[in-house]
């Protein structure tokens, strides 16, 4: 049996027929072909799949597509405008906050949720917040720096 889902995805109204078991991340990647949102695990640990749903970061591997019916969903693809990086993206670039780039979309989306609630996070607060985002490349050192710098850029 398939169900109809309608949502606002990166500012556009979209709909699709999905199975009850279809995950939001599958809908975003496979149906709408927005492949910036990644899948790194099957136990809701890695955070490579983080998107924003109704303004909050969620792990899109842990949300059913049907749960997003009527929601506002935004993905990493929505951040840059006219080829200009968002300040948080720019901070990741300036501080070498990414290597292979696989965890990066989730890191950036997660960081934005942190900064929305805590505009000036300390190093400890950033490390604590990143509990749900795994990176195997950077040792987090430069991700933490990037988020602090991104937060600062967004404040000014």
């Amino acid at each position: 049996m398939t169900l109809m889902v309608t949502m606002t995805l990166n500012g556009e109204s979209v709909s699709a027929e999905v199975e009850g078991r279809t995950l939001l991340v599958q809908l975003i990647r496979d149906h709408f072909r927005l492949t910036g949102t990644h899948v790194g695990c099957d136990t809701s640990q890695c955070g490579a799949c983080v998107v924003h749903m109704n303004g909050q970061s969620v792990k899109s591997c842990t949300v059913l597509a049907v749960q997003a019916d009527g929601a506002q969903v935004s993905t990493i693809e929505s951040l840059a405008e006219n080829g200009e990086l968002h300040p948080m993206q720019q901070a990741f670039k300036d501080n070498h906050g990414l290597q292979c780039g696989f965890c990066t979309p989730g890191m950036v989306m997660s960081a934005l949720d942190l900064v929305a609630n805590n505009p000036d996070p300390s190093e400890a607060e950033i490390r604590d917040w990143l509990e749900g985002n795994l990176c195997r490349c950077t040792g987090y050192h430069n991700i933490v720096k990037s988020i602090a710098a991104g937060a600062q850029a967004m404040r000014s």
Binding site: V39, T43, Q45, Q99, C100, E131, R136, N142
Partner: protein, 780 residues
């Protein structure tokens, strides 16, 4: 902005990754693709009575179901290394199990359906009748008298190998005043790149050719192995593409059976066949790393002069030999046991053992972390036993800075280094002198503070092909590059190295723009496609800049040499009178010059051009085969605080000084060190691939059970570099990708044992183990 060699240039590749426009294998959707799911063995050791696929074949959307019987004519997965000096048992590894399964995760059947969900559903319906056999899980069990054998062999032994002079080492021990002995476990790791493995195979009947998209660190190696040794497809009919790859750490070097299965099946079903691993599958079927049991003995004089080192190691190979499995615990391990010391006599013996576990191959550092761990643990322990300061003991035994090239007793010859300078600076950075006070202060807060050193050396820049051949590699280890100058002077560089996080698109472009004196923006680097790149051996062993970068430099030399000929003609001067500098060809001693862009244009619009002597065009290729390994070295100092109530360890300081030779992009190098340390800390404190001893079930098969470091497990790091240039490659570079992973485990365990005052704690030093060690120490 300076973008030349030595500048911390931000990365070209970042824009696409930051905007979600990376192109990883799972992001690729080929027209008409079907999806594969593998049925994997749920038991560690069994004969297959039957694999019934009838019900699965009838499920909705199913395109085909294949078992080992269907792949009878297909070759097995090959191994690329057999250590010299003795026989190696090399049992066949079928792509899909033929009659027997040998580890949990071994592939039994392949289900192909319209969607991945349908394939998963149908895979559930494949009925496998296992006739279970007792599993041998630990190396001890595998080597026990009368142990069940995994393969059609007399026992579970793969090889017995040794290096170094046994007699000289025995003689050294005979005259020792003191011998320090440790029994060490080097725990099994799962590399866990955040991008799971994936592959798409397809066949084009119009050209009778195949394409494989795969998450590989070395696409040309995969083409060679799969084409020549498995499927019998000649190179010109097989294209292997490794697009953006989300981390490798060694697990994406080997040639895997899934790559073969999708390529073969693509032709069978007449559609592209795609497979993407789930994380659980990655844990089961990616190659694991490490897994050694070692006894090490260090013979010293009473004032701490090292006389001899004796090592005996059992190395777990898993159930089958992975591509470079037997290389890791032999030549990438035994040859590094001199470390940074003058130990005159060394003997190391290694037994490779088969067990009913996943195959073991390279994991970041590969052999060198194992060597460094035992050496730096035994040195630190000797210092404590002899009552000599660990810095002083190391200093007494360092290879002196004027002793290079230095021939070790274990084959390799170090090219350059200054180990004392590195240690001195690291000790200063860590404020070693102030440690006693910090320890006292911690005590007043009820915390046990400890400090641990790890000096290390690694052999990178693999490898001179003639040496590789002698020691048992079944491949050359050169690198290839093509530098294509376009008519308007912009440049495409084609490299056989592969970037899966290392930032080659930036670093290599810096080298090219620096050498040619052209803007950084005018250079793009292409990698990861066997149809575009002449050849390549790929990226591992910190070899990309030292070997791949050197190949680019050789091609650049040819470009400049040809450019001089064109310039000499244009400037009406002798070729030998032309100098090339900062993008200008100039007649020496005059103001006559012509820019690089003009020379590029005349190479493609050769109106005024020495056509009788010179071909048009400016496009040069080169292969570079190194004359030696490179030998980065460094010193990492870790400081921890242990809570005696809970055994919890907190890393409070991490200071490191590394010598990577010349550095092209310090920002990228620092990032490599950070990431390496995280891998080492993970191994030492958090990570362990655990199998149930009886059943052979993987107990740590998900990210909830296997702990990779999170942001709050790690501190910020203080790192610096020193520089003794590599004397034998054109850039003077040594390699930096593995250093942190090599140094960190010993530094951390040295710090923890220092804090709690015990001789040893096994990795991973979890709170439980630390607490128990502390209790038994206090009980004594």
């Amino acid at each position: 902005m300076d973008t030349g060699i030595g500048a911390a240039v931000t990365r070209k590749e970042d824009f696409r990754f930051l905007t979600g426009q990376g192109n990883y294998t799972d992001d690729i959707a080929r027209p008409g693709q079907a999806h594969a799911v593998f049925v994997r063995s749920v038991v560690a050791h069994a004969n297959l009575r039957a694999v019934n696929t009838e019900a699965a074949s009838a499920m909705p959307g199913v395109v085909a179901v294949f078992t080992g019987d269907d792949l009878q004519g297909v070759g097995g997965v090959p191994c690329g290394f057999a250590p010299d000096g003795g026989p190696m048992n090399e049992p066949p590894r079928p792509v899909l199990a033929q009659g027997k399964v040998r580890f949990v995760g071994d592939m039994v059947a392949m289900v192909i359906a319209e969607t991945a969900e349908q394939a998963r559903d149908a895979a559930e319906a494949v009925d496998v009748d296992y006739d279970e056999l007792p599993a041998v899980v630990s190396m001890e069990a595998a080597q026990a008298e009368g142990a069940p054998t995994i393969h059609d062999l007399d026992d579970n032994s793969c090889f017995s190998w040794g290096i170094g002079d046994a007699e000289a080492t025995d003689a050294a021990f005979a005259k020792a005043d003191h011998v320090t002995t440790l029994e060490l476990v080097n725990n099994r790791k799962c590399p866990n790149a955040i991008e799971p493995r994936a592959a798409i195979g397809e066949y084009d009947p119009a050209h009778d050719s195949y394409t494989l998209y795969t998450t590989s660190q070395n696409p040309h190696v995969i083409r060679l192995l799969m084409g020549a040794f498995v499927l019998g497809i000649p190179e010109h009919k097989l294209r292997v593409v490794s697009p953006d790859v989300g981390g490798g750490f060694g697990s994406k070097i080997p040639h895997y059976p899934e790559e073969i299965a999708v390529t073969w099946a693509g032709k069978q079903v007449g559609r592209p066949v795609k497979w993407t691993a789930e994380r659980t599958e990655s844990f089961l079927s990616d190659t694991h790393g490490r897994d050694h049991i070692t006894r090490v003995e260090l013979a010293c004089t009473s004032d701490g002069e090292f006389l001899g080192l004796r090592v005996h190691t059992q190395a777990n190979m898993g159930a089958y030999l992975s591509t470079f499995g037997p290389l890791i615990p032999t030549y990438l391990y035994g040859t590094l046991l001199a470390g940074v010391y003058t130990t005159p006599a060394i003997r190391c013996e290694v037994d490779g053992v088969f067990t009913n576990t996943a195959p073991v191959d390279a994991e970041r550092g590969a052999g060198r972390p194992e060597a460094t761990f035992l050496l730096e643990r035994v040195v630190e322990t000797a210092a404590r036993e002899l009552g000599i300061d660990p810095v002083e003991l190391r200093r007494r035994n360092f290879i002196a800075s004027d002793a290079f090239p230095y021939q070790t007793p274990v084959i390799v010859q170090y090219d350059s280094g200054n180990y004392e300078q590195v240690l001195d600076r690291a000790a200063e950075l860590a404020d070693y002198a102030g440690f006693a006070q910090r320890r006292e202060e911690a005590k007043s807060r009820g915390r046990l503070r400890g400090l641990g050193f790890a000096g290390y050396i690694e052999a990178c820049g693999m490898a001179p092909s003639n040496i590789a051949g002698v020691i048992g590699a079944r491949a050359g280890l050169f690198e290839a590059a093509q530098v294509r100058v376009h008519p308007t002077g912009s440049v495409s560089v084609y490299t056989g190295s592969h970037s899966h996080g290392q930032g080659h698109e930036t670093t290599f472009a810096q080298v090219v723009s620096d050498r040619l004196g052209i803007p950084f923006e005018n250079v793009d680097v292409v990698h990861g496609d066997t149809d575009q790149i002449p050849f390549g051996m790929g990226t591992y062993g910190s070899r990309s800049l030292a070997v791949g970068g050197s190949a680019i430099c050789k091609a650049l030399d040819k470009i400049i040499a040809k450019g001089k000929k064109i310039a000499a003609h244009a400037l009406e001067a002798g070729e030998s009178d032309i100098d090339f500098e900062s993008g200008e060809f100039r007649v020496r001693g005059t103001d006559k010059s012509v820019g690089f862009g003009d020379i590029a244009l005349s190479a493609y619009v050769p109106h005024n051009y020495p056509l009788e002597e010179l071909e048009p065009g400016l496009d040069e290729g080169a292969f570079y085969d190194p004359t030696n390994f490179t030998f980065p070295a460094g010193c990492h100092i870790c400081e921890v605080e242990v809570d005696p109530e809970t055994g919890t360890t907190q890393i409070v300081n991490w200071n490191a000084v590394d010598d990577f030779g010349k550095i092209v992009n310090p920002m990228i190098v620092d990032g490599q060190v950070h990431g390496g340390i995280a891998h080492g800390v993970g191994q030492a404190m958090l990570e362990n691939c655990a199998y149930d001893e009886d059943s052979g079930q993987l107990l740590s098969g998900s990210l909830t059970d296997y702990c990779i470091p999170r942001a709050d497990d790690l501190p910020s790091f203080h790192i610096e570099t020193t520089e003794t240039p590599c004397p034998h490659n054109p850039l003077g570079v040594k390699g930096c990708g593995e250093a942190g992973a090599i140094a960190a485990p010993a530094a951390l365990i040295n710090a923890i044992t220092d804090a709690i005052g015990v001789a040893h704690v096994d990795m991973p030093a979890t709170p439980e183990k630390v607490w128990a060690a502390l209790q038994s120490a206090q009980g004594e």
